[in-house]
Structure formats: structure tokens, C-alpha cells
């Protein structure tokens, strides 16, 4: 980066920029264009969420009479009281608890599986290691739609239909996260684990006390995406769950249009949708930098 030609170019641009006026008008015109575009998008993108939230605090009478408006005249909490008290046809608390259990268990197991497997494929030497890895990776590129129906049969054979295991376990087989962990570990120098090995430490010890802490950044990222992915999964739970008590919230919401009468109890519908959104939203607010940095890591590999 520090070659003299580049420095020279830098110095030249500084001069050029302070000079002619045309360049700076160009910059301000393009600045306003960029701002207009971004702000317009932000407004369009935010309105549905805000509208959903505020509508969940309005009475049915108000929603029907006032047409489309962003803020309620009277803020009421009745909608939330109603949906939280429903424990039979649309037990939303139950669904949320199911989703929390599923997504948390899935995430923890993902972290265990990908760190152990990632260690195996990046730090251990055994015959055919890379051949095996790339064979699995290649197979996993085959479109998932083909294994959908037999996957249901397997879950059925295991007795997991209508249980949380149906959503916790199958996703652990994926190769994407292991690929990321392996890629990440290839960029980490081997000095630490090799000197530990010289000191007589075995693989389990090296994995647990040296590699696992080093993997933390990539594991956090994979964990966050596993959690949100599991929380928002839709097709699979719609297939696997018929028992209302056992569903995660995404599948449960599909039933709501019937239960709350095709937009005859709108506040309740919106309240349910908002409750289903809150956990991933909180996760994003607290761990925002990982969500963004994550894909950095991803793009670094692909580019």
C-alpha cells in the first residue's frame, strides 16, 4: 500500500479538490441525490413496522373508522391482553416459548458442532481430509427442495413430528457454517496450537483451551445467523407441525388470519406479529456490529 506513486496521487487530488469549483458542486449534487434516495427508502422501509406497532395499540373501532393513519388517537393495551390470554386456539405465549427453546437449543448445538467439526477439518491431519470436506460441500450445494419430502419421513421415523427436535437437529447437518469456520481458522496462525502440542497437549485439550477461544468471532456470527434463521424458518415448521401447542411462532401466525377473522380483529393480528418480531429485533440491536461485520467476513471469502 505504501508505494510512492500512490502517495503522489493522493497529494495531487488534495490540490485538485481545493482548486476548481465544479468538483465540489458535483459532490453536493450527488450528495443530495444520495440522501433523497436513502431517506425515501428509509421512510418506505420503516412505515410498515411503525404502522404495525401503532395499530396494535388501537381499538378495532378506531382502526375501522379512521382509515390509514400512523398514530392512534387512544393508546390501548387490550389487544395484547387478549392475545396473551388466549391459551387455546392461538396460544401465542406458548408459541414464543417454543420458538425461544428451538432457536436457543439449535444455536448452542450449532456452535458445538461447527467448532468441533471446524477444528477437525482445519487443524487435524488425516487421510482424505480435504477430499471429504469438499465432497460434502459439493453435495450440500444440491438444491434442498429435493430432500424436503424424505426429510419429513426421517423426522417421522425418529418420532420427532410435532416435537422441537424436528427443528433443532436437521439444520446441524449444514455445511455453510463449517465452511466459514474452516476458512476463518486457515487465517489463524498455527503457532499457539503447535507449541501446545509440543508441550504434550492432546487434541481435545488443544481444541478446548486454545482453538475454541480463538474461534469466538466467527462462532458469534454463525450463532447469530443460526438463531435468526431458526426463528424465522417458515416452510419446514409449516410442514412438520400440526399440533397447535407444539408450533413455533412463525407457523402459528399462519393460523391467525382464520382465528382473528380475516382482519376483523386487527389489533390482535398486529400485536401477534409484533410479539413475533421483538426477539430477533432485540438481538439485532444488541449485536448489530456482528451482523454487519459477519457478512464482511463472508464477502472477504467470496471476493
Amino acid at each position: 500500500m505504501s508505494n510512492p506513486v500512490v502517495h503522489e496521487a493522493n497529494a495531487d487530488t488534495k490540490l485538485a479538490r481545493s482548486g476548481p469549483k465544479k468538483a465540489s458542486t458535483n459532490i453536493s449534487v450527488s450528495k443530495y441525490m444520495a440522501y433523497t434516495f436513502l431517506i425515501l427508502l428509509c421512510v418506505l422501509w420503516a412505515i410498515p413496522v411503525i404502522f404495525g406497532i401503532t395499530t396494535s395499540f388501537r381499538s378495532q373501532a378506531e382502526v375501522v373508522s379512521s382509515g390509514f393513519s400512523l398514530l392512534p388517537d387512544n393508546w390501548i393495551f387490550d389487544n395484547y391482553v387478549t392475545i396473551l390470554q388466549n391459551t387455546s386456539t392461538a396460544p401465542i405465549l406458548r408459541w414464543l416459548m417454543n420458538s425461544v427453546f428451538i432457536a436457543t437449543m439449535h444455536t448452542l448445538l450449532v456452535i458445538v458442532v461447527i467448532s468441533i467439526t471446524g477444528y477437525g477439518y482445519s487443524r487435524m491431519n488425516f487421510k482424505g481430509r480435504d477430499t471429504l470436506f469438499f465432497t460434502l460441500l459439493g453435495i450440500s450445494f444440491f438444491p434442498g427442495v429435493v430432500n424436503l419430502i424424505p426429510s419429513y419421513k426421517i423426522i417421522d421415523a425418529l418420532g420427532w413430528v410435532n416435537t422441537s427436535w424436528a427443528m433443532i437437529i436437521p439444520g446441524l447437518a449444514g455445511m455453510g457454517n463449517i465452511f466459514l469456520v474452516r476458512q476463518f481458522m486457515m487465517g489463524v496462525p498455527k503457532d499457539l496450537d503447535e507449541s501446545a502440542r509440543v508441550d504434550g497437549a492432546g487434541d481435545f485439550r488443544i481444541y478446548y483451551s486454545i482453538i475454541l477461544p480463538l474461534m469466538k468471532p466467527v462462532l458469534i456470527v454463525c450463532g447469530l445467523f443460526s438463531f435468526t434463521g431458526s426463528w424465522n424458518d417458515f416452510l419446514w415448521p409449516v410442514i412438520v407441525y400440526t399440533d397447535v401447542e407444539k408450533m413455533p411462532v412463525t407457523a402459528g401466525l399462519l393460523l391467525l388470519q382464520d382465528i382473528y377473522g380475516n382482519y376483523r380483529m386487527i389489533g390482535q393480528l398486529m400485536g401477534s406479529a409484533i410479539l413475533a418480531i421483538i426477539p430477533t429485533l432485540l438481538l439485532f440491536l444488541f449485536a448489530q456490529k456482528y451482523f454487519v461485520q459477519s457478512i464482511n467476513l463472508n464477502a472477504g471469502i467470496k471476493g
Binding site: K31, W45, F68, V145, S151, Y152, I295, N298
Partner: protein, 291 residues
């Protein structure tokens, strides 16, 4: 010595078992099932190419009609959604890279958040927004039609919710890639009198070629698997004009009445092949044009 050679299998073994049980086996079985008559309960009965013949050539059969209609609608969705899901995130990323734009992280977060919302929650909110009596279509635009039940509005609302939820991921990939492009390139181009459009087409685009190919291929493959948006927003209507292939596959295999899983598997294999061929083509063409 012998003990040492077994250790690696403790590390890669557990995942290998999971992979075999939940990916390899079901994929192979899915291909096998496509050559059978199967109701998900009894053992599949081998019928050779019969399912494929029906689906692809028997114009009298409802499976033929369903497959052709499902594939057509899936293709319409891909063609309508993918270009927008590439272009808008790219425009956002370029705008966010502008030196003078402030509050980049806030803007980025607002545009990213819908991607964290499940399709079922998003659809409940959007259906209200497009509701004839209560939403904006009537109250703001004065439209008298029920959008979810009339074309082209049915496609419009499916695309709107898809784009709303789908720009975030690609946006971040493009941002990361663009910020990795050397600033000196832009500055020397600016000195040579290249305008913003020229700089975008001769510096930005070539520099982010791999992320572009990657997102194009992945976004397209994802779009072929579309399911939740039409199911929740239009329920496949009006008159099955938004019923996508994934909905027919689910309906045949897991719908009411006896399962027709063999036929559904054949449709799934065909969809899988379409995805594979198109991904390969995209990769090949883009890679060749770029170099």
C-alpha cells in the same frame, strides 16, 4: 499410534453422521422417490419414468397443468424479484459510500431490519397495508380493487414484501466489498475527469465482480424456492396465477387427502435441476464476460 489415527473421527464423525442422515440420505431418497408411486406411508412402488412423463408430457393430467403453471409462476417471481434485489442494494451501497452522507449505520439498520422479520409476521402487517378497506391502496391511492385478488396487483404486493425484506443481506455484502476498493482508484479517476457514473461503471462494478456473481447466483437460487410470500399474501390466487411450484409440491406431498409424494418428488427434482442449471449458467456467463 493406532489410537491417534482414530481421534480425527471424534471431531468430524458426529457431523458426518448428521450430514448422512439429514442431507445425503434424504437427497438420494428424494431422487429415488421421484421414480415411484408413494403415499408417504407405504413403501414406494417403482414406476420408472412414469411420473416425469406425466408431469412433462401428459397435457390431460392435472399434474402437468400444476407443474407448468407452478414453474411459470416461479419463473415470473424470479424474473420480477431478482433484478430489483440486486439493483436496489447496489444503489444503497453506492449511496452509503458517498463521503458526505452521515448516519450511515442508522440508515443501514433501518434497511436491514425487515430482513430479520419472519415472512408470516411481515405478511400479517403487509396484508393490512394492502387491505382494501383499511390500508393505503384505497385510502391513499383511491384504488377500488382488492389487490391480493386481482392481477397485476397480486404480483405487485408479493414483490413489494419480497424486496422490503430482501435488500438488507445483499446491501451489506456490497457495502463491505465497495469499502474494500482502493480509494486511490476513485481519486485518480476523478482527477482524470471521470464523472460518478463513469467511476461506478469502470471502477466499482469490475472491483466487486465476485460478490456480484455470488449474490446474483444465490439470490436467484433463493427466489426459485419462493413459498411464504405467495402463500401468506395471495394464497396462490387469483385463479392460481401466483401459485408457485413449491406450493404445489407441499400441497401434493403434505396436503389434505392421500399424499402423492412420488409425483411431488419428481416435481422437486425437476425444480432442483432447473436451479442447478440456471446457477451454473449464470456463473459461467458472468465469469466469462467479466474476464
Amino acid at each position: 499410534m493406532k489410537k491417534k489415527s482414530l481421534t480425527p473421527y471424534f471431531f468430524v464423525g458426529p457431523h458426518l453422521i448428521l450430514f448422512i442422515v439429514f442431507i445425503l440420505l434424504p437427497t438420494l431418497y428424494g431422487i429415488y422417490a421421484s421414480f415411484t408411486q408413494w403415499n408417504l406411508i407405504n413403501d414406494p412402488v417403482w414406476v420408472g419414468l412414469a411420473n416425469y412423463k406425466t408431469i412433462l408430457f401428459d397435457a390431460e393430467s392435472t399434474f402437468y397443468t400444476q407443474f407448468m403453471n407452478g414453474l411459470k409462476n416461479t419463473l415470473i417471481f424470479v424474473v420480477l424479484s431478482v433484478p430489483i434485489l440486486i439493483v436496489i442494494p447496489l444503489m444503497i451501497a453506492v449511496s452509503l459510500e458517498h463521503k458526505k452522507v452521515k448516519m450511515k449505520n442508522v440508515i443501514q439498520s433501518i434497511l436491514y431490519i425487515p430482513g430479520l422479520i419472519s415472512i408470516s409476521a411481515a405478511a400479517l402487517i403487509w396484508s393490512l397495508i394492502f387491505n382494501k378497506q383499511l390500508g393505503i391502496t384505497n385510502n391513499v391511492f383511491g384504488s377500488e380493487t382488492v389487490w391480493a385478488a386481482n392481477q397485476p396487483y397480486a404480483w405487485l404486493i408479493i414483490i413489494v414484501i419480497t424486496v422490503w425484506g430482501g435488500v438488507g443481506g445483499n446491501m451489506i455484502i456490497y457495502r463491505a466489498s465497495i469499502s474494500g476498493v482502493s480509494k486511490d482508484l476513485y481519486e485518480s479517476a476523478e482527477m482524470d475527469g471521470a464523472g460518478p457514473v463513469r467511476r461506478f461503471s469502470s471502477i466499482t462494478l469490475p472491483s466487486i465482480r465476485f460478490p456480484l456473481i455470488y449474490t446474483f447466483v444465490m439470490t436467484t437460487a433463493g427466489a426459485f424456492n419462493v413459498f411464504g410470500q405467495p402463500l401468506m399474501m395471495t394464497d396462490g390466487g387469483p385463479r392460481q396465477s401466483t401459485t408457485v411450484l413449491m406450493m404445489y409440491i407441499r400441497q401434493l406431498a403434505f396436503g389434505h387427502g392421500e399424499s402423492i409424494a412420488g409425483m411431488a418428488s419428481a416435481m422437486a427434482v425437476l425444480l432442483g435441476l432447473v436451479i442447478l442449471v440456471i446457477s451454473a449458467l449464470q456463473y459461467y456467463v458472468m465469469n466469462r464476460n467479466a474476464s
